[in-house]
Point group: none
Chain length 400, copies 2
């Protein structure tokens, strides 16, 4: 039996009396619910609205107030880029601009035809003493990493976040941001020259697609090596996820990251494959972390049925296989994404701890309302890892 | 009527649906349960695993992150030693070594015959400008205190914590630890010379007991005078306990400590005597703290029945007499010691506040599960003292 399985169903929490979780048919979860301890988790603090990156840092036991340096590094790590201390990473969009550098479509119509070749053209560029890596991820998106001396994340974006606006000039937002701003603006000029007549763009135009003739950057983040979960908590942990961000945060904290066949980070992800990957890892790791994205996407879309069905499919295809295979199972969300709000909210995530020897609340179903007043009480995200460590006998006593 | 009584049943919390507390017949507690407010107390923070020393510091309102400097000073204070600012205290074991200083038995067979005389031989030793005190407590255990200029607790133990290992050389673990390491190693040599042919050891051998021919030291702790509960909270408090550690922590925070006839810090302690001592103190103090150890020992032994019986005996012999004699009664544990885990766990301690004018939950029995979602909510250890102060009208308003 594996030691501990932590399942994060992204944005699981909802509002209302009859939430997707409460209404979903979950026969497998229902089997363990009465013997489980339930509670509420405020991933950051009550009232504090978590992003996906800060939420996962917290859940892994890393206080984002201390460890969060922007999203860029997580995207880059998740895309498989190796980062060195001092590298600055960005999230990149390939977009469509006119000849005055005004953005006509921030996503170049989302069609990813030829975008891998365009990112490859931008890759391994050198400006002054800085090396630039550019990696395509999905659709128009990619990661861009600057490596070299004297970089800082104290800089504004070149992505204006609006159409009909010109590509923004990068400006230093901190005293040490002058150099990176200069490199970013040089990168914009080079990208313009390299992409305006790029063969892939000629092909895109021939196919009736918008040209992907500019790369705009946002979310500069400085990579600083942090002590791993192994260093800090004495555990080996693995991440089973489809989405690049979650893999990136996991890699950042020193988890092993496995590529899961068919895991897409979307509502159509292959949950059977995820269950198989989780079970394969069970005996080799103290903690298996599994991320399921579809619940959050359905919440953002305001689609009650899709969220409910994602929960039902997870119960049928995933929980049916992994329940009984771990000494401790923890199921929660990283935050709430209520279908009525269509955004993250600060409502606490419901959380369920199952262990043959916990404090069972006897509540027959895992729901937001049953979690309120449960025997776990309420906790914050950074406390979760310590509870898991305590269950698996790896938490160090403070004092004697 | 006394103002407030705080009863800590050590390691009270347990796991499972039918815990020792839930199954124990407690007619006296049952009388006050429906009129009480219940809640969950995380002595440190959710997930953080408390030792006995840090737990009690917290419960007395002293954040261990700030005030905890190692266990040694509490053992010494509990053994009745007066400490001065700058003294360094250790926990000591008399053990059995061979002529190569290899430890054969870390506890010299636990038989305490003659051990008081052996500790007395080590007492009042002088090495360089340091005076050493050595005091026998129970079985093979004692407290050793170094007094003099330039001491630090930045030093390793001479106790290797293993048999078939030689007595460890003390080594500085901080830049200012060189002097104390030197004194500790000189102490080991002197102890060897003084104890190898000690008359008490000749008698022990004649009786078929192992000689107690070495004193090994662990848990160096620097004593720093802290503001007392009277200074900080404006109350007079008294500690009624058998175990030396609890008396030591109480003394550290400026409580009066009374010796209770028949209180042993074990499962066979005289609870009638403890109740009498508590009642004698009721009118003279704002807060009477009473510690009951047997629940924790039964948890460590994995003995469900012993834990349940200790709770039942406490109800019959102690609560029967003290209920009704205090305006406010608070009953809790310092942490959980579930019988299946046989160790401290991070599960919250159940807590009950009784006062004629609290917010009664109406729950008919004081149990871990009834405490979840109770009207006290959940609190951390350092908040408890302020709740008690508020009940007795001694908490200062912040603002107006």
């Amino acid at each position: 039996m594996g030691k501990a399985l932590l399942v994060v169903m992204d944005g699981l929490g909802d509002r209302g009396k009859e939430t997707p979780l409460a209404k979903a048919a979950t026969p497998n979860l229902d089997k363990i619910a009465p013997g489980s301890s339930m509670g509420l988790m405020f991933t950051l603090n009550p009232g504090k609205l978590p992003g996906s990156d800060t939420a996962h840092l917290s859940i892994f036991g890393y206080d984002p107030e201390k460890y969060y340096k922007g999203r860029g590094p997580f995207e880059a790590l998740g895309a498989g880029v190796d980062l060195k201390h001092g590298d600055v990473s960005f999230r990149a969009n390939l977009c469509t601009i006119d000849d005055k550098m005004v953005i006509l479509d921030r996503r170049a119509g989302r069609a990813d035809y030829g975008m891998d070749k365009i990112y490859a053209t931008l890759d391994n560029m050198k400006i002054e003493d800085i090396t630039i890596r550019a990696i395509h991820t999905v659709e128009h998106r990619g990661a861009v990493v600057f490596s070299g001396p004297g970089l800082s994340a104290g800089v504004s974006n070149t992505d204006p976040h609006e159409v009909n606006e010109p590509v923004s000039q990068a400006k230093a937002s901190a005293p040490d941001g002058e150099k990176i701003a200069r490199i970013m603006n040089a990168f914009t000029k080079k990208a313009y020259d390299l992409l305006k007549d790029h063969p892939a763009n000629k092909e895109r135009i021939a196919k009736g697609l918008k040209p992907a003739n500019m790369a705009v950057l946002r979310g500069a983040g400085l990579f600083e090596q942090v002590p791993s979960v192994t260093d800090r908590f004495g555990i080996k942990a693995i991440c089973v996820a489809g989405g690049a961000l979650y893999k990136g945060v996991a890699k950042f904290v020193g988890m092993d990251v496995v590529n899961v066949p068919g895991a897409t980070g979307t509502g159509t992800t292959d949950l059977n494959s995820k269950a198989k990957t989780v079970l394969d890892a069970a005996d080799k790791y103290d903690l298996v972390f599994c991320h399921i994205k579809g619940t959050d996407s359905a919440g953002h879309d305001g689609n009650f049925d899709a969220k409910k069905k994602m929960i039902e499919r997870t119960d049928a295809e995933f929980f049916s296989k992994v329940i009984g295979k771990f000494e401790t199972i923890v199921i929660t969300g990283d935050h709430s994404t209520p279908v009525d709000a269509k955004r993250h909210t600060a409502d606490p995530a419901p959380i369920l701890f199952w262990n043959a020897n916990c404090r069972p609340d006897g509540r027959t179903k895992f729901t937001e309302l049953n979690c309120a007043g449960g025997s776990v009480g309420q906790l914050t995200g950074t406390q979760l890892m310590h509870l898991i460590l305590d269950y698996i006998g790896k938490e160090h006593m403070f004092g004697e």
